[in-house]
């Protein structure tokens, strides 16, 4: 029982990080219908920003965590904005396949460029302790192991999700985003500036990934190399697809399913934990081809 609960908790923790990344995939996909493969590398940049900014922030503000996460979100948001302007905008009216290939190209470029010695370097880095990890004693004898890092991960991602819901549902630009996601030509006829909406999507999504990167660094305490984004990014992407890509609650649901199933599978065999995500995805897509909460759109002639 204790073992079961422990794995469930671990799953929720990793699921929260996946959720932040998955939201970015889903927002961008909902607006421009591009699978932004470079999102995983924006997550990586976010994590490295934590590494570089934390000492500076600690000096300026005293505490490091909150200023670092905000600064990282701003930088990754800016990176997303620039990326869209340079790489995706010229392709907007070309085939979607070429946009997809470009996204792959941007992803490989970011990874290898950041691995250059004068950027982040290819080496292992120890992530600074933004908060001091402590175990929180749990009453009862289940042997549960809950740290304050875990609470932080879940707390920060829930706060950001709530903010995102507020942004998408209540603000003007959020409403415009939903309109564009629903029907782009009509939205533009209603006077919505598509360029601004797309830029907004490419700022909000990457900013969430940046926050995810900081949480990742805090949780694991290390940054392996600038290629570290690939697998968490892929898992989060699969989570977004699992929930129905383009659907915001779906991405969160998918991320938690992914995190929890991965935690359980990893407790059996670490290689299995790696593969389970893909098996679940194939299984679900065969039953529901547009994901758990996705709408099935019939093709019209």
């Amino acid at each position: 029982m204790g073992q079961f609960l422990q794995q469930l908790i671990n799953g929720i923790q990793i699921g929260s990080i996946y959720a932040l990344i998955a939201l970015g995939y889903t927002i961008v996909y909902g607006i421009v219908r591009i699978i932004n493969f470079a999102h995983a590398d924006i997550f990586m940049v976010g994590a490295y920003m934590g590494f570089f900014l934390a000492p500076v922030m600690a000096k300026i503000f005293g505490g490091a965590f909150i200023p670092t996460i905000i600064a990282a979100m701003l930088i990754t948001g800016l990176l997303g904005f620039v990326m869209e302007k340079l790489a995706y905008r010229p392709l907007r009216y070309k085939s979607r396949l070429s946009a997809l290939i470009t996204a792959l190209g941007v992803s490989i470029f970011l990874e290898n460029f950041c691995a250059m010695p004068f950027i982040f370097g290819p080496n292992f880095r120890k992530f600074p302790d933004l908060i001091v990890a402590k175990n929180i004693p749990i009453p009862g004898n289940l042997g549960l192991n809950i740290s304050n890092v875990l609470l932080l991960d879940v707390g920060v991602s829930v706060i950001l999700m709530v903010l995102l819901f507020w942004f998408v549902n209540k603000t003007l630009i959020g409403k415009q985003m939903r309109a564009v996601a629903f029907d782009k030509p009509t939205a533009s006829l209603m006077g919505i500036n598509i360029d601004i909406v797309i830029s907004a999507a490419f700022i909000v999504g990457p900013a969430l990934a940046g926050a995810g990167g900081i949480l990742y660094g805090t949780t694991y305490g290390m940054l392996a190399s600038p290629f570290l984004g690939i697998w968490p990014g892929l898992k989060a992407f699969i989570a977004a697809v699992l929930g129905g890509i383009g659907n915001i609650p779906g991405a969160v649901l998918g991320a938690y399913i992914m995190g929890i199933s991965e935690a359980f599978a990893t407790s059996v065999n670490s290689n299995l934990g790696y593969g389970i995500a893909f098996a679940i995805l194939i299984g679900i897509l065969l039953v529901r081809p547009s994901g758990l909460l996705g709408k099935f759109m019939p093709e019209k002639v």
Partner: protein, 318 residues
């Protein structure tokens, strides 16, 4: 006929340069890799370029072929490769078996996933690739995460030459047959293709299996070149490489699928001074190609030796 003479000449030139020592073993290895990459890319192009589906897990099928053929040759030959008369038939059987098993894997992936379209198909193929890799990693007989070594070396320049030419000719003939025309119809408009009586699902699954077969055979040839294979050789990243080759070369032309991998496999030599910048420049080339020449280097053009010569039509006497 002229084409055959041209290929023989190319082979003679490469071989004589090798024998005179101008091209050392490293260059020969690069040329062999280019040959394997060409077959992989052309087979990927059949699905992505000519049928308009988006498969991004081609390395998975390569892995199936590589492991199957490597298991067959290592078990059967016990690394006793002294006698080529025994070795080569076993090798041919092994790579064909690898191809067939990869084709079967392609059927397992393709048959159900052709129900999902576009981006979702991409994700299913990606997952299939990683799933195949996970299965290899947890299977101890296949070496698991340690990799599989001790594979006899059968892949020589001659083998790759014959293999690449035969595979490309087979795929070309398929693409220029009526099947190929239905594939292009599906790419241009699936609904219209269906309306003209093409069984689109069957056609797509068949192309997928055919393409997986060639990926498997290339995997076999690849395994017998490196003599050691590891599940990480066949990760999603490997699939991405082939996508880059294909789309830079030009996905809607066989020549493009030949030019792309040839350039990218031999390019590191041309920019030896930029060694560490290589993987920064590759993706930039890809992005710039997509922005300024979306159709790839070759576009819709084909080299003349790819095209099937028009047969002289006999006058029908009344």
């Amino acid at each position: 006929m002229a084409t055959i003479i041209a290929f023989v000449l190319v082979y003679v030139v490469i071989k004589s340069l090798n024998l005179t020592g101008i091209l050392n073993a490293y260059y020969i290895q690069l040329i062999i890799l280019a040959g394997i990459n060409i077959v992989m890319t052309v087979s990927l192009g059949m699905v992505n370029g000519f049928t308009g589906q988006f498969s991004i897990g081609h390395a998975g099928f390569m892995a199936v072929g590589a492991y199957t053929s490597a298991m067959i040759t290592t078990v059967w030959l016990h690394a006793s490769t002294a006698n080529p008369w025994v070795g080569y038939p076993v090798f041919i059987v092994a790579i064909l078996a690898g191809g067939l098993l990869a084709g079967a894997a392609g059927y397992l992936v393709g048959a159900p996933s052709m129900r999902v379209k576009g981006d979702y198909l991409a994700i299913v193929t990606l997952s299939a690739n990683e799933l195949i890799r996970t299965v290899i990693r947890v299977t101890d007989v296949l070496g698991g995460p340690r990799g599989l070594g001790g594979i006899p070396k059968f892949t020589t320049l001659e083998v790759v030459f014959v293999f690449a030419i035969v595979s490309v000719v087979l795929m070309r003939n398929y693409l220029f047959s009526s099947h190929g025309r239905s594939m292009k119809a599906i790419r241009d408009s699936e609904i219209a293709a269906e309306a003209t009586g093409i069984n689109t699902t069957r056609q797509k699954v068949f192309v997928f299996v055919f393409s997986a077969f060639f990926a498997g055979v290339s995997g076999g040839v690849f395994a017998h070149l490196l003599q050691f294979i590891h599940p990480d050789n066949f990760s999603f990243m490997k699939s991405l490489e082939y996508l880059i080759y294909l789309y830079v070369g030009g996905s809607t032309s066989i020549s493009g699928a030949i030019v792309g991998p040839a350039i990218f496999t031999l390019l590191p030599e041309l920019m030896r001074g930029l060694q560490s910048w290589r993987m920064v420049i590759y993706p930039l080339i890809l992005i710039l190609t997509m922005i300024f020449r979306t159709e790839g280097i070759m576009g819709l053009k084909e080299f003349s030796f790819i095209l099937i010569p028009q047969r002289q039509r006999k006058e029908v006497s009344a």
